[in-house]
């Protein structure tokens, strides 16, 4: 067991898979010589050499196209898109090419690749470098979408993503890179499409993702002190979605809250709410409430950014209000 930062866990997870499988290669901007702008790939060039760890031009379409073409022909690439906001410059390769090619070719083509990316806000980087865009990917059939919230999950889910024969978007939360957690020694493996119950509770279920998981945990702690016992589910994977874990929890608690960093309209919680509102309708004791960033671009000033992204205070307040109504 080692204490690792979330960013170290990324490199650890990649290294684990590169050691296991010669077909795993890594490309991206500044990921080799410099170890990545978020230092998530430190040491990999040294360990695996310039044939497998490659610095690219600022050409996101070319990067993802190269990853896709290589995946189609025998490699298992990991590509980095530095900030997830930059998916917008290469979205075609992701949504029209990677996501659809297996289906369109009736299964002739397999595309085992991972695109890792720094996602999310709280670092005062402003509207073009802070978005949580898991929901963009969730809306597109053919993409798997993963967001780990702690170092152990980073390693295990990275392994699962690399071993998946489908394209996986792996969203690392920038606000969690410095956070620490225990990671077991040896090979760490995990399973895509599985949520984790981080805390048991009886009165309400909170579904959260990424940076919102530790905030939901702290909110649950505080709410417990006020007599509201919350179950906290770390959703971890949007596609495949472990709806069952959420539905089972709601069947017990009768209430659901989602905590989403994305702007409100069509955040991932909308899909979860629509599933639960349909399939667990008769289990619900009250409305499903979504706690999200309002539907605005992210402001850069620290005071404003902290205001709009769901805080522990706001989570506590909204859940308390809804439970008392």
């Amino acid at each position: 067991m080692a204490q690792l930062t979330y960013r170290e866990a990324v490199a650890r997870g990649i290294a684990q898979e590169m050691r296991r499988d010669e077909r795993v290669v890594l490309i991206g901007e500044d990921i080799a010589g410099a170890g990545g702008v978020f230092k998530t790939t430190v040491g990999l060039l040294e360990q695996f050499g310039p044939r497998r760890v490659i610095d690219t031009p600022i050409s996101e379409q070319a990067i993802l196209g190269a990853a896709m073409g290589a995946a189609m022909t025998g490699l298992r690439p990991i590509a980095e898109i530095m900030f997830s906001d930059f998916f917008a410059v290469c979205w075609d390769i992701v949504v029209n090419q990677m996501a659809k090619t297996r289906y369109m070719t009736n299964g002739q083509v397999t595309i085992p690749l991972v695109v890792k990316s720094g996602n999310g806000g709280g670092l005062r980087f402003g509207a073009q470098h802070s978005q949580s865009i898991e929901n963009w990917a969730m809306a597109v059939p053919g993409l798997k979408v993963v967001t780990p919230s702690c170092p152990e999950d980073v390693v295990g889910l990275m392994a699962a993503a690399v071993r998946s024969d489908d394209p996986v978007l792996f969203f690392e939360h920038k606000g969690l890179y410095a956070s620490k957690g225990d990671v077991p020694d040896g090979t760490v493996e995990d399973v895509l499409g599985t949520a984790k119950i981080r805390r048991r509770g009886d009165h309400a279920t909170i579904a959260a993702l990424g940076l919102m998981v530790p905030r939901a945990m702290e909110a649950a702690e505080r709410l417990a002190g006020r007599g509201i016992s919350c179950e906290v589910i770390d959703v971890r994977s949007l596609i495949p979605l472990d709806a069952r874990t959420i539905l089972e929890s709601v069947a017990r608690t009768g209430r659901l809250f989602t905590v989403e960093e994305n702007p409100r309209a069509l955040g991932w919680g909308a899909e979860v709410a629509s599933i639960v509102g349909d399939e667990a309708f008769w289990d619900l004791d009250g409305p499903i409430v979504r706690i999200t960033t309002p539907h605005v671009p992210l402001p850069s000033a620290d005071s404003l950014e902290d205001l709009v992204i769901p805080s522990v205070d706001r989570i506590v307040a909204e859940i308390e209000k809804a439970m008392q109504a």
Binding site: M72, N106, P240, D242
Partner: protein, 354 residues
Amino acid sequence: MTLPLERHQYGGHAIVLPPDSQTTHDAAPIDRDVRLLMYRRLHELRQFEKRAYDMFMQNLVKGTTHLSLGMEAVAAGFGTAMREDDYTFATYRGHAHTLARGVAMEGVLAELLGRANGLLGGKGGSMHLTSVEHGVMGSYAIIGAHLTIANGAAWSAQYRGSGQVAVCFFGDGTTNIGAFHEALNYAAVFALPVVFVCENNLYMEYTAISDITAVPRPAADRAGAYGLEPVVVDGNDADACYLAARDTLEHARSGRGPVLIEALTYRHGGHSRADPGKYKPPGELEAWLAYDPLKIYRGRLERLGVPSAELDEIERQVGRAVDAATEAAKNGPMPVPASAYTDVWADGGSSWRN
């Protein structure tokens, strides 16, 4: 070869004529067998697409189709020169490039008809022809993307040391999209074994390339931006295409990096089914019809002493093959409904939640 392809005023373009040097490549050192194979291929592509067009008119082919009638020499020349395990990356206008790798006509035609015996089980359609077993790694319908994907296949070949080359076909209009630029620079930087073949047929959809491009030759005039040599070939002359393919495949295969070729050619029909081709200036089509790739190739073979009867027989054989493929395609079953739910994922299914 010089073609009178010039930059014109925005909104108006002059007629562009083909070369008239039909005998240029008569003396090229190409085996008779290879030439006869190319002749057969030219006819396969032509007769197949004419049949596809007829079936369109009978409303059997749904959606859209993009024919390359008049442009067959490029696909035939490259298809003939490529190694069996080389990769083809094609566009929505990809019937020819697919067939030229030896893919059976039946599957292609059945795909156009949306049948279960289609190459893609009816799930992809005319714009996405793919046959991995023939190295046809897909046809892509969003302009530019597949140049970057071809790089990936080339990278994989380089990494595995397989000696394979990726050949990527695209149009003149495609040279103006961002992905073209990224792909070319990327390929050059990493010396990838990829041959980019720009089929300059003078038009994007309905707009003349000269009206919306800053340089006269959309591909060749950009080669220098990637440290590459400009290469222009006569895209209506199968021998010219074959020779260019042979040389550039060899270049890429031997580790000397990518190549960008501009093949000048012309599509006889419209951009797609919907297009009557009104934007073509008078006389242009006629001139290019006179320089038709099949016609000039037949002329060459006759000058080189191949008996007419032998050529006629090839044409008849191809005709019979097209007829047989037509029957097989038409008789193919409709896809089973369940197939709409297969192969979103590698586990074969489409389930995204539990």
